[in-house]
């Protein structure tokens, strides 16, 4: 039951995007997000669409997987569209009592929807083609300059990767404990909210105990291997840019330049 939830939602495949350095992909997502806000006109969005479709074609992840990420934002999407359509002042196309639809409202709603959908798809391409571990090590490298400002970059990255690593383990544990309690007649589905919360006790107590036990074991194992934080620590697989990454950077910069050009010329 719980096993079906995909976390971190990495989709294993062999594609150009999977092979890129995580820093390149982080930069790519950043550029794409900026471009989505820099473009203001429909020809501009066409350029963004071409770019996005290109990426979807390159990443070899089935599109159904990519669009699945849109489900959680459908509600927000619908809500913003309704408000934009109904509440933007301008040239009135249709009116009923206090509700009115304006031309400006429709245009604004469409642009908002495009932005939201593109943001989600763009960032899910990143998480679909990059393992959580690659992602954190990419972030660690990208944020390393912050060390100068006494930001514990390595420690934060380590915490992130441990947390990510533990999500599937804890999910599996939850599944196991849940089944064990269901086997003893526990009921996690029926009842009102208070009853439901009460019924969670047989699940949560063992889960917390197991989480603490695992944390304790992990801390012990790390200490036994002389882990002492970020200073002078080297990586087993240091990130190195390849020719592919350089090409990717060029494409991204060209795309960003195009976006800025569109904005300046007012297209």
């Amino acid at each position: 039951m719980i096993r079906d939830i995909t976390v971190g939602q990495y989709y294993p495949a062999e594609s150009v995007l999977h092979g890129l350095d995580p820093r390149t992909k982080l930069f790519g997502v950043l550029v794409f997000i900026i471009s989505v806000f820099v473009f203001r006109t429909f020809p501009g969005y066409l350029v963004a669409t071409i770019f996005l479709v290109g990426m979807i074609a390159l990443c070899k992840v089935p599109p159904s997987f990519i669009f699945r990420g849109l489900k959680p934002i459908l509600f927000i999407l619908a809500l913003t569209m309704v408000f934009n359509v109904l509440l933007t002042p301008g040239e009135i196309l249709w009116q009923w009592k206090f509700l009115r639809i304006t031309r400006e409202g429709l245009v604004l709603a469409a642009k908002m929807a495009i932005r939201l959908v593109y943001l989600v798809i763009g960032s899910s391409i990143l998480t679909l083609t990059t393992t959580p571990n690659q992602l954190t090590s990419g972030m660690e490298r990208a944020f390393r300059p912050l060390n100068r400002l006494h930001v514990p970059v390595h420690e934060v990255a380590m915490m992130m990767s441990i947390a990510l690593r533990f999500i599937p383990i804890l999910l599996e544990e939850t599944d196991k404990i849940m089944k064990a309690q269901i086997a003893r007649g526990a009921d996690f589905e029926t009842g009102n909210i208070i009853q439901k919360a009460k019924n969670m006790v047989p699940l949560l107590v063992p889960l917390f105990i197991s989480a603490f036990r695992r944390a304790n074991d992990l801390a012990m194992a790390m200490e036994a291997r002389c882990y002492h934080g970020g200073d002078e620590r080297t990586q087993m697989k240091p990130l190195v840019y390849s020719a592919k990454d350089r090409i990717a950077y060029l494409i991204l910069l060209a795309y960003l330049a195009a976006a800025i050009l569109f904005r300046i010329t007012g297209w």
Binding site: Y11, I177, A183, R184, G185, D187, P202
Partner: protein, 318 residues
């Protein structure tokens, strides 16, 4: 009166790249009153199989009948089924959550709708039958030792008075003494209270000693189904699956290969002892002189097996 699996197939995460078929077309009948052992290496599908028996997992294909009724019918009462088919998971001590041992064991019977008083009666009975002493009843479950926790957890399922008791490696992580105690308790429940047992184990010795029927799982299929003696005859095939027959089977085959007339299918220490002693006697009487060398070779072995058998008998009384 039985649990019956008909063409049961189960696939994890069907339709994704992570899809794994854990069970392939399983047909199985577990009559009431049996002591069934299930063996298979890690990932052979035995844990998935037993979770089907009390409707924790719904088969992707096929059906499961309990007393002739399909347990996945719309109006089937699966909660009642779960109280009749009790399942004890591996490391059951990880499910304990109450403030004291007695309350934790009461959880099951109270979910069945008993009052706290009635539940306590059942809980005390269950705790007594797993051999946990009264002085522990008011302790926090987390103060107990590993073996005691395990027994508390088994009592938690037993207190629901199941007709079937399914145990997934109940002896994992226990020392030999704790292991024998738990297994003897389970054998006692089978014998005295007539509970049908399904025991999942890695230990061939344990299965040989207790089970009357053995199923070997391999790659999601039933590879062998028969009495332990029958199954262990295929010890070479078992090895190919990454399993092994009990050590006694190897010793007996070795002895037989060297010309001693022993029963090669003896799989427990007790059976092996009887067979070796009988074979030696037989050899001694017609040809006194020739048997000496063979007898010398066997002597330490039979002495050891006697000691082991004596030890096991001694622990049964504990």
């Amino acid at each position: 009166m039985s649990i019956e699996l008909k063409n049961v197939t189960y696939t994890y995460s069907p339709g994704t790249t992570y899809a794994i078929t854990a069970l392939k077309n399983i047909n199985l009948q577990i009559p009431e009153g049996q002591f069934l052992g299930i063996i298979g290496h890690t990932g052979s599908g035995k844990s998935t199989l037993i979770q089907h028996l009390n409707a924790l997992i719904r088969p992707t294909e096929g059906e499961i009948l309990y007393h002739g009724k399909n347990i996945w019918d719309e109006d089937y009462d699966r909660r009642k089924l779960r109280s009749e088919v009790g399942l004890v998971f591996q490391y059951p001590e990880h499910q304990l959550f109450e403030n004291d041992v007695l309350s934790d064991v009461c959880f099951g019977p109270m979910n069945q709708g008993l009052s706290r008083e009635q539940a306590e009666v059942e809980a005390r009975k269950a705790l007594a039958s797993v051999g946990l002493k009264e002085k522990h009843f008011k302790k926090s479950p987390f103060e107990l030792s590993g073996g005691q926790k395990k027994r508390t957890a088994i009592a938690g399922v037993l207190a629901m008075n199941p007709k079937y008791l399914i145990l997934d490696e109940p002896t994992a992580g226990l020392d030999p003494r704790g292991r024998d105690e738990i297994l003897d308790q389970i054998a006692y429940l089978h014998k005295e209270r007539g509970i049908s047992i399904v025991l999942v184990s890695h230990s061939m010795e344990d299965i040989a000693k207790y089970a009357s029927r053995l199923i070997v799982m391999n790659h999601g299929e039933v590879a062998y189904d028969g009495t332990p003696r029958e199954v262990f005859q295929n010890y070479r095939e078992l090895e190919a699956m990454g399993l092994a027959a009990p050590k006694m089977v190897y010793i007996m085959h070795e002895l037989s290969g060297r010309g001693l007339n022993v029963d090669v299918n003896a799989s427990t220490v007790e059976e092996a002892k009887e067979s070796i002693l009988a074979a030696l006697k037989e050899k001694k009487s017609p040809l006194q002189g020739k048997a000496v060398s063979a007898e010398k070779k066997q002597d330490p072995l039979s002495a050891r097996s006697e000691a082991a058998a004596g030890g096991a008998a001694g622990e049964e009384q504990v």
